[in-house]
Symmetry: C2
Subunit: 163 residues, 2 copies
């Protein structure tokens, strides 16, 4: 499936000019898309996408609370990153942290009323923005293709991670 340039044993080493152009378009546009969604969310609700991910996870959790490392793996963050982020969110009153009763040394992250309220206010505008910037930009076929491309890229990332 790879290395399929005919007449070139071992395959070509580097991307062609066309492939490179598409790569740059693709990576720059998707990252710009992320930034725009981020700043839209910020304007609409004073939350970052990081805040949103944390609040979403807590909102859906039993008792609106989760152990710190459980939360980290749920949203796919390193614990260090989460710890820094929770510190900032705690300063803003969006969450609270307390000792975990069941797990020694564990930290329980709790959604505060202000955090729940901020999340409620952010949800609708955020989903609407996703529709405007992504869903409305593409045809149904393109959306399906985007899903397949993401899956293929993810699979490749996973394969290369294990080597």
């Amino acid at each position: 499936m790879t290395d399929a340039t005919p007449g070139r044993p071992g395959g070509r080493q580097l991307p062609s000019a066309d492939e490179l152009r598409i790569w740059r378009d693709f990576i720059e546009t998707t990252s710009a898309l992320g930034s725009r969604l981020e700043s839209r969310l910020q304007n609409d609700s004073s939350l970052s996408t990081g805040d949103y991910a944390v609040l979403l996870a807590l909102s859906e959790a039993q008792g609106q609370a989760m152990r710190s490392s459980e939360l980290a793996s749920h949203i796919g963050w390193e614990r260090s990153r989460l710890s820094h982020h929770l510190g900032r969110m705690e300063r803003r009153g969006l969450i609270r942290r307390q000792e975990c009763a069941t797990v020694p040394r564990g930290s329980e992250v709790l959604l505060t009323a202000a955090g729940a309220e901020a999340f409620r206010g952010a949800t609708f505008p955020h989903l609407r923005a996703i529709r405007e910037f992504f869903v409305d930009a593409l045809t149904p076929d393109q959306i399906a293709a985007a899903g397949e491309i993401a899956a293929a890229l993810r699979a490749r990332l996973d394969v290369l991670a294990k080597e």
Copy 2:
């Protein structure tokens, strides 16, 4: 082309569950892809993708030098971002800055020998990584589709920016 849900005048407001799942897959995977390329570049050459973009532009410039704001618009950065980044690159000896002879108050950015050398060493592994992570992950059809998706998303970003 948008708002095309039949029987629902005005169109639906929010993405469907499927669309949302694809959105999350897409945005998370593309951003993970960017991070992986970034850290690969870092390991191979001690350069960030930002460094790479600056060095690439300077390498291709007349006399391996550019005016600061010209460089900024060439790589699509805000002036402030570039100024911060050039400060860091200057500390590492990758570039130099000097007063511009032709434009009063202008700042000329020069590629140093060390910068040129670092760029030379980074190019091949970086392009190879793009091939491994992106080109090799997708079929030719998917690569073409990725180009079209990027173009459509970019067009939408541009439209929404003007409103």
